[in-house]
Amino acid sequence: MSARGHVLEVLAGASAALGLERDYINDLNVYPVPDGDTGTNLFLTVQAIIDEVGASPVGDLPGLMAVVTRGSLMGARGNSGVILSQIVRGACDSIAAAQTFDAAAVSDALRQAAEAAYRAVRQPVEGTMLSVIRAMADAATGSPQTISLPVLLTTVSTAGAEAVDRTIDQLEALRRAGVVDAGGYGLLVLLRGAVAGFLRAETGSQPPAAVVADGSDRRRGRASRHIAGIPPDAIEDSRFRYCTSFLLLGEELDAADLERFVGAQGDCALVVGGEGMLKIHVHTDHPGAVLSYASAHGTIDDIEVADMREQTRARRARLRLDQRVACVAVAAGEGNKTLFRELGCEAVIDGGQSMNPSAAELVAAVESLDAGEVVVLPNNGNVILTAEQAATMCDRQVAVVASASLPAGLAAMVAFDAGATATANAVAMQEAMLRVRSAEITHAVRDSEIDGVAVHEGEVIGLVEGRLAASGDDLRLVFGDVVRTLGTQGAELITILTALNGCGVSVADLQRTAAEACATACPLVEFLFQEGGQPLYPILMGAE
């Protein structure tokens, strides 16, 4: 395969590996700023190299190395991207001089890559990309001279992985957050991907698993747990707000002078490049000041200003899943179950009048959720005790909001806020529930006397808060009476959950009946009809 083919394969391998791990690397990112973009920055920097090579017709190795160097410099994004561009530069300079890709050349390339990376950073910090590239270079240098290239690459990869593991103990910010360094891990992923691409180009076959970054790396499992558990206050915000980077083009650019000025405007300052083009990166509160100073010395291009405070907030929001609250409801009827789900309830289990779920079913529903705290809505008087019992059996914090009916439970569900704690939710949901009066319309199951009124089997009865409000043979008339009762008692909004199969009445009939019943007595009442589908009760109502 040609030199160009090799380089493209190496880049494609690096890009593919970073593409797979990009989100994960973003989540790892707590140092130097927890802005959660290291994976994206590394990925896009490699992408820029690919674009540059793709746009250039160069075919000889030294020429290609110059194009790769230029692409990495122009496309470098963020702190990690700029440091990567220097690693690339060191390695490319070395390979261009050696004109080959054998073990000795690769070993020397790693050495020069590490040196270039250290040179770029004003105050090198261990536990970062720098320590990882140096560990790789040391492993290569320390290998026997006769080593074959695949074995050398495996050795380097292993040393890199060990260096990544060590980062957690090298940097206080990482130790507190319990993660390995994102840039260091990203560099390892990139290297493994690049090696896989190289071996593919050499042999035309798949490389051995040991050198492939396939997302199943052991650090992945270990650090994933850590990520979820990062206490928010273990991570400090950057002192500075804007991650600012741009290219500066011009004759005789004074890199040392620019570095002094930029360094005084913030931290993480990097001024790299040469030959008429510098890449400048800094975390600062005054991107404008940096840009205008630089623009006095040359032409600025590819300006990128990212608000790290916003990025940090977004990263936190993404990782806060384990601290969130979810809700479990017990409900009967497809319509009602859908409604609970649409209101944000993540688990809805079947149950209700005469079909109570067991405590074990409730526990299983609670524990199936990816949430640290759970609110349970029993939605039936007969299920409240079971729910309270289940709450004591769960492996996490559970709050039971003692909703005795579906309309009460729905009102409570409206007040649910996934951003608040289970306890705060329980209070708010309880309050919302208490503002609702429940009513139901059903058929009497036997002849009896309810609240002093004789009712006959099969007769339509309307109950408000469990007390008989109306009865008769016509569902519509009873419904109208109940609606008027609720309206004149101060209801502003009446929710009507219907299950009218076999009743010979349509929703449109009920809408007319409701409007007529309230037209004079309580004309301001609003109605909301929903298909509930619950058994036994053609109509359930909540008035608030």
Partner: protein, 285 residues
Amino acid sequence: MSLLTLENTAIVVDSTCDPPAGYFEGPGLVMVPLKVHFGDETYRDGVDLSPDEFFAKLVAAPMLPTTSQPTVGEFAAVYSRLSQEYEHVLSFHLSSRMSGTYQASLTAAQPYGGIEVYDTGTVSGTISLLVELLRRRLGEGISHDETHAYVEHFARQNHMIFQVPTLEYLRRGGRIGRAQSMVGDVFGIRPLITVQDGELVAYAKVRGERRALETMTALLREHTAPADAVKLITWSSVADDKLPALEAALLEARPQASVVMHGRVGAVVGTHGGPGMFAFAMIVE
């Protein structure tokens, strides 16, 4: 230092201030458009596309449009011209937590002296209200310090609330901020959203049209005393029936209040809020 007046002061805004039609056509007033992209077609908000044309397109579009902020160069061109023609240039932009527009304008203003760029911390018609009330002061002439103090006062004391029929557009545009977990569009819920610390946040989850209107009015009651001469702006995405009812409720709650102007939701805010959005903003002067 001379007083700032309507004659010597230019005001720059971006198109997310959703002003009444034609408001920024006068001398010394410049609205820099953000852009809205329907597939490969790009339109300048309020320039190539009126609110009515936008919402007609939005409803018919197979895919949601996207938006983009003005470039540094677009702001620089405006500042370069105005800084030669005017002694003072004031530039007001939507919250820097919602868009990079403020940052772009700040960067563009850097080389020119005398341009004050403000992050208003809010969005949409609220910014038009600020501009109008500030212009009334410029009519009398005010000092630089007074101008700054008034803008600060407005930024701290204003309140705005809007109602959307669905949260779908906010969610798809990723602009929902801390209102993320809010449920809308089901069970008669009317999503009510306000701005806090420069971000959109859920104000309340209310069911039913009447109670939603009452809750919007409650924001006015909560932040004002009965005798306050509150200044209001109301605005909506389509010129329809919502605003008269809202205004009636607001003026009933605070009879001393006055509605200074009526805005229209433009293409960029409309992309993120969707059709059927209506709102008011208030300030006690």
